[in-house]
């Protein structure tokens, strides 16, 4: 199967792969920042006292979680133009990824906040701390320590999900594999190289995840 695996072609296409590798990284990084922002807002809305606001955030989170990313991506890709919004593909891609991961981040942050014992919040209230002080000094530092691992897990999912952007003809890692397949009829070389690049990101994030967890537990113990 792989006896005539052609490393020369991979070397020849290496500049394209590196360029696409960077494209995948910046597309994922931009979506990740957006998703954490959207997730924080959606979580705050979900936990809001007002039932209407909480309900809106709930509808957003549930409908994202119950439908596949690819359907959401096509929804924006084919849907926005019919609203008269002509955006470049990469903007559509980042919007879809951001809104998709945002819903998952909202749930992760909510789980982290709700895991904090209510007694601590009561203690904060009786010490005369304001809402923002309680958030800043009691809830968030602890929630961050508890959620760092699922957050990085979702970041890994986000990087992998960015491969779907190749289906709306954004040039990133998976697209590079497709190009090598269609130019030279070399799917093995094309997609295995693509997979290797994704594995680099995966192992880096995974290593960072276990490292950060050790660090955070270390800090909490003191």
């Amino acid at each position: 199967m792989l006896e005539d695996f052609n490393f020369r072609v991979i070397l020849e296409y290496m500049p394209l792969y590196l360029q696409c590798f960077l494209a995948t990284i910046w597309l994922s990084a931009a979506s990740l920042l957006g998703a954490i922002l959207v997730g924080t807002i959606a979580c705050a809305m979900r936990l809001s006292q007002s039932r209407a606001i909480s309900r809106i955030a709930g509808i957003y989170i549930e409908s994202i979680r119950s439908t596949p990313l690819l359907a959401q991506l096509y929804f924006f890709y084919f849907g926005l133009p019919s609203l008269g919004l002509m955006l470049p593909e990469w903007v559509t891609g980042i919007i879809a990824l951001t809104l998709n991961s945002g819903a998952y981040y909202a749930e992760i942050i909510r789980a982290g906040i709700q895991a904090i014992p209510f007694g601590q919040i009561e203690a904060g209230i009786s010490s005369g701390l304001s809402y923002f002080q309680r958030m800043r000094f009691i809830i968030l530092p602890q929630a961050l320590g508890m959620t760092i691992r699922p957050m990085l897990g979702q970041a890994i999912v986000l990087v992998k999900d960015s491969s779907l952007l190749s289906l709306i003809s954004i040039v990133e890692l998976t697209r590079a594999g497709q190009l090598l397949t269609s130019d030279r009829f070399m799917p093995a070389e094309g997609f295995l190289t693509t997979a290797a690049f994704y594995l680099i990101i995966y192992y880096m994030l995974k290593g960072f995840s276990s490292w950060s967890e050790k660090r955070l537990i270390f800090r909490e113990a003191h």
Partner: protein, 222 residues
């Protein structure tokens, strides 16, 4: 124009039902195969020999570290060069079963390892064979931890099945993609696609949450 397109869409509903059926078939078959293989791998990962454990662990890492789209392409485009010609449908089921097995393997292994080791020791002391230990002592208790995330995993499989539309399996997403070429109202067409996925996934998500609540109550009572 909306009314006209809406009528057109309603007339192509049978097409969508066929896609729905295809999504159910692909994800259903993969769920069954993935659950069986996942349980076998998970049991081996929790209790097999060291070599076996690290082989399964490395495989699971490879699958979790690469995007599902790339895995589908590898199976669909590369296996034929090894002499294994696959239609789109079996290729999709193989890829999705493997993905499901890898995730379920981790869930099962985690559930088994969460059973207190005293239980296994007591079973050994009572003279139960390895099979009987697993069948009557370990698995029934592990199932309580395994079941809620397992059902949650089913949701992910249904959603991931949308990716196989990229190799031409005519599932809901593919039907939406084909329809939007004819009815250029992306919001409407993919709104319908989203609703169809929602109908499958939302009850499953709620069932998973229900199981989680129920299982937690049982374990705290004990």
């Amino acid at each position: 124009m909306w009314g006209f397109y809406f009528n057109e869409l309603m007339r192509s509903l049978p097409f969508f039902y066929k896609g729905l059926w295809m999504t159910v078939a692909v994800s259903g078959l993969s769920l069954i195969a993935g659950t069986i293989i996942g349980f076998i791998w998970g049991i081996m990962r929790a209790s097999g020999s060291k070599i076996l454990r690290s082989i399964i662990g490395a495989w699971v890492d490879l699958i979790r570290g690469t995007p599902f789209l790339v895995q589908v392409f590898i199976i669909f485009f590369i296996l034929p060069s090894a002499g294994i010609e696959l239609e789109a449908f079996p290729a999709a089921v193989i890829a999705l079963s493997n993905l499901a097995a890898c995730f379920i393997c981790e869930i099962v292994a985690g559930g088994i390892l969460a059973v207190p080791s005293g239980q296994r020791e007591a079973a050994t002391a009572s003279g139960l064979s390895a099979y009987h230990q697993l069948r009557y002592i370990i698995l029934p208790q592990a199932l309580r931890t395994i079941l809620p995330p397992l059902v949650g995993q089913f949701v992910l499989i249904v959603k991931d099945s949308s990716v196989v539309s990229a190799i031409g399996v005519v599932d809901i997403t593919r039907v939406g993609w084909l329809t939007v070429q004819r009815i250029p109202e992306g919001l409407m067409v993919f709104g319908l696609v989203g609703i169809l996925y929602f109908v499958i996934c939302y009850p499953l998500i709620n069932f998973s949450n229900f199981l989680e609540r129920r299982m937690t109550v049982v374990s705290t009572r004990l």
